[in-house]
């Protein structure tokens, strides 16, 4: 069976060059970077090099890169770390309704412990208005955390503006850039962020590794204790092979950024136009232009996204309903609901996220299979029959 993978916002295949870069660190270069001997020094050098590559890719200094066990850990560290460090200054945190659960759940956990959290809304395109953030600021606000681009819709958030207002008001600003690394140029200075979360496996690197960029002077209490690793910000022996792979992935993604963008944007347009012209009653989610080139979130009215995902899987096509982390749940996406999509329509959402290895013929295959499946699912849908739209 033909296989077409269109779930790159969930994860990506590891690039062969990344695998090649990592392999020595499972074998002869197995040392612990904290060891003083030659084995340790070799590992430490690899770590230093990787730190330099990641820092350079986002305009940060090497000592501002804290390697973590992935994007979720970076988000947890940023939110909890800043809130803990500034608990004597204030207990108010601003986030948005469309954040990844790595941020939202952490904020809600803190809310249960006495912090106050404001979740600002977004507009119908899934974009948070800087003015809404400004209006939410209070004297005791200690942290603003707004993602760079949404994982479900791909809508790009106005982080530069939010960064400026955070700076004006002297509030720490964190952004989750897990979905934008390798897809949009990142510059912590231009974006005005104090903290930025990054992940490796969304950019053809290995899973279980990421980084939190912590600008110098940012107040942060660790969430993992037990050693002096990562400048005492994140204890635990570093995942050296993973970090080396991550750095290689960053290097490749940054180098090929423009070509990749052009490639996936072309395919996405073909996909969107194809779907819109062959399938009635669909709704394209997210901002029409300010959106990640890789991402197309589409609601198919009258059917459940989950059924469509499973049916497509049986034809070898991999997509997801909502984000991978909430897939399998029958709850409609919190992001689409925040955008004002009616719950019944939101149930029918499917996310197509493209990547470098996708091809025109893959998209052709999807366009051949998808309309047939949607038609079949609708034929069985009581909602469709009741709507009177079927003929």
């Amino acid at each position: 069976m033909k296989k077409v993978y269109l779930d790159h916002n969930a994860t990506t295949p590891v690039h062969p060059e990344v695998v090649k870069a990592m392999l020595p660190y499972f074998g002869e270069r197995f040392g612990n970077p904290s060891s003083v001997h030659s084995f340790g020094q070799e590992a430490k050098r690899a770590l230093d090099e990787a730190r330099g590559v990641v820092a350079a890719a986002v305009g940060a200094r090497p000592d501002e890169v804290v390697f973590t066990g992935g994007g979720t850990e970076a988000d947890n560290m940023a939110v909890t770390g800043v809130a803990s460090a500034l608990c004597n200054k204030g207990l108010h945190i601003i986030t948005s309704q469309i954040e990844h659960h790595a941020v939202l759940s952490t904020c809600r956990h803190l809310a249960g412990m006495g912090y106050e959290v404001t979740e600002v809304p977004c507009d119908a395109n899934g974009v948070v208005a800087p003015q809404a953030v400004r209006d939410a600021v209070r004297k005791d606000t200690v942290l603003i955390t707004i993602m760079h681009a949404n994982n479900e819709t791909g809508s790009i958030q106005p982080v530069e503006e939010i960064g400026r207002l955070a700076l004006e008001r002297g509030i720490v600003f964190h952004t989750d850039a897990v979905q934008t690394l390798g897809k949009l140029p990142l510059d912590v200075n231009a974006m005005g962020v104090n903290l930025m979360s990054l992940s490796s496996h969304k950019i053809y690197g290995p899973k279980g590794v990421g980084a939190l960029i912590v600008r110098r002077g940012t107040p942060l209490v660790p969430v993992i204790f037990g050693g002096h690793h990562e400048r005492k910000k994140r204890a635990g022996t570093e995942n050296v092979s993973g970090i080396v792979g991550f750095a290689k992935a960053v290097e490749l993604a940054t180098r090929d950024l423009e070509a990749t963008e052009a490639h996936v944007l072309g395919l996405r347009r073909k996909l969107e136009e194809g779907v819109l012209s062959t399938v009635p009653h669909v709704r394209l989610n997210g901002h029409p232009t300010k959106r990640l080139s890789s991402t197309a979130s589409i609601c198919f009215e009258f059917i459940e996204g989950e059924s469509l995902v499973l049916s497509l899987d049986m034809e070898g096509i991999a997509v997801s309903s909502g984000s991978a982390c909430t897939s399998g749940s029958s709850e409609p996406s919190h992001v689409l609901l925040a955008m004002g999509v009616p719950p019944a329509t939101a149930q029918g959402s499917v996310r197509f996220s493209l990547g470098t290895e996708n091809t025109e013929s893959g998209v052709d295959y999807v366009l051949e299979v998808l309309p047939r499946i949607v038609e079949r699912l609708r034929a069985m849908s009581p909602l469709y029959r009741q709507s009177g739209t079927c003929v």
């Binding site: 049916s311 899987d313 049986m314 399998g328 079949r376 699912l377 069985m380």
Partner: protein, 378 residues
């Protein structure tokens, strides 16, 4: 006799629990050349799932089912049906207990969840049939329609008793590949095929109740619904007070152990009276009765048109079906959801229990069934 056959071009979804039966059912369908995929229902938020790890839908079951599907090379999907299960099975189960009944949750689950919502779901995914590892047989006409359900060939394992409430319109989309097999053959096949579940123990408990804690579970759930389970009196058949009980939900007709009544060695629970919150005790012979009424009737045959009729009636999963007369309790009321039936056994049967299913058979063909409502005592 028409066998359960359908074209090998059909796509079949198999409800997989990771156990030996459903795994072998899937294997047989793969062998026949069907396009097969596995589904497992997720019925609980596993953070607060019952501790018993052996039930058909536990987290371990999902993992085992996934492993079995991988072994067979078929796709496997988890279908989340928590809300449906809660509303359609768990809640009614608890409410029935509060009314002094002893429900059959598997009957409800089969009718409402497995062969209700799950069947709809797999049909929408392109399956022509939903197969399970039940020991029961279906007979299909050449055009696939008008199916009869019969007991499984292995009478020790027959599960038709738990399937009577499936609506007849659903039968044509069901498939029971193990219906003509013996359990020992199924086990042998599983181990030949190297299916991971070949040695797994079978579960006997209610899948959502932590082992041995049914009374506690039901009491807690009812309390959350605002229904208090109160202690009450225990009396004998003559009305003499014997002591007190901890709540009707902890008792069932025929129960002997755990009564907390001294000198009750030869005493059985013979009746639960919800209106007075009373448990009635008696001797073994007090459990005997010939007649009961049932409601929530479902027919899997045209037998309803032939009332009153003679049938073999089974009143418990482990009961040996016995000859009886089945007739309308209120003649002329007709078919439909309000239909109530009176069943009169030729010979008295022991421990006929309100809430349990009464299933009517003609030989080994399931005619229909109902839920036992009230039992006429001698």
């Amino acid at each position: 006799m028409k066998r359960d056959i359908f074209p090998s071009s059909a796509t079949v979804a198999v409800a997989m629990s990771g156990g030996v039966d459903s795994s072998v059912a899937a294997a047989l369908l793969v062998e026949k050349g069907h396009r097969v995929f596995g589904v497992t229902m997720e019925l609980w938020s596993y953070a607060d799932a019952p501790a018993s790890g052996r039930s058909c839908c536990s987290m371990a079951a999902i993992e085992d089912a996934r492993a079995a599907a991988a072994r067979l090379g078929i796709p496997h999907y988890v279908v989340e049906l928590e809300d449906v299960f809660e509303e359609g099975v768990v809640r009614p189960f608890c409410l029935e207990y509060s009314r002094g009944k002893t429900p059959n949750p598997c009957v409800l689950c089969n009718a409402r969840v497995k062969f209700g919502v799950l069947l709809d779901r797999v049909r929408s995914l392109g399956a022509d049939f939903l197969a399970t590892g039940h020991y029961a047989r279906l007979e299909r006409e050449a055009d696939g329609a008008a199916t009869r359900m019969r007991r499984g060939t292995d009478e020790q394992k027959d599960q038709s008793y738990a399937l009577w409430a499936v609506t007849s319109a659903r039968l044509e989309n069901l498939c029971f590949p193990l219906g003509e097999m013996r359990k020992s053959d199924v086990r042998r096949l599983a181990s030949e095929l190297g299916l991971p579940s070949a040695e797994r123990e079978e579960s006997q408990d209610v899948c959502f109740v932590p082992a041995g804690d049914c009374g506690d579970f039901v009491t807690a759930r009812l309390s959350a619904m605002g229904i208090d389970v109160r202690p009450g009196d225990v009396i004998d058949v003559a009305g003499k007070a014997l002591g007190s009980h901890r709540g009707l939900v902890r008792y069932t007709v025929g129960q002997r152990r755990g009564l907390g009544i001294s000198g009750a060695d030869r005493q059985y629970v013979v009746e639960l009276r919800p209106d007075t919150n009373t448990v009635v005790m008696g001797e073994k012979r007090d459990l005997l009765s010939r007649e009961f009424t049932c409601a929530d009737v479902n027919w899997l045959s045209d037998a309803a048109e032939r009332l009153p009729l003679r049938a073999l009636v089974q009143v418990r999963y482990t009961h040996q079906a016995a000859p009886a007369l089945v007739e309308e309790a209120a003649p002329g009321a007709g078919l439909g959801p309000g239909q109530r039936l009176r069943v009169t056994f030729d010979a008295a049967q022991s421990a006929i229990t309100p809430g349990q299913s009464a299933v009517f058979y003609d030989g080994d063909t399931v005619l229909g069934g109902g839920v036992i409502e009230s039992v006429t005592r001698r």
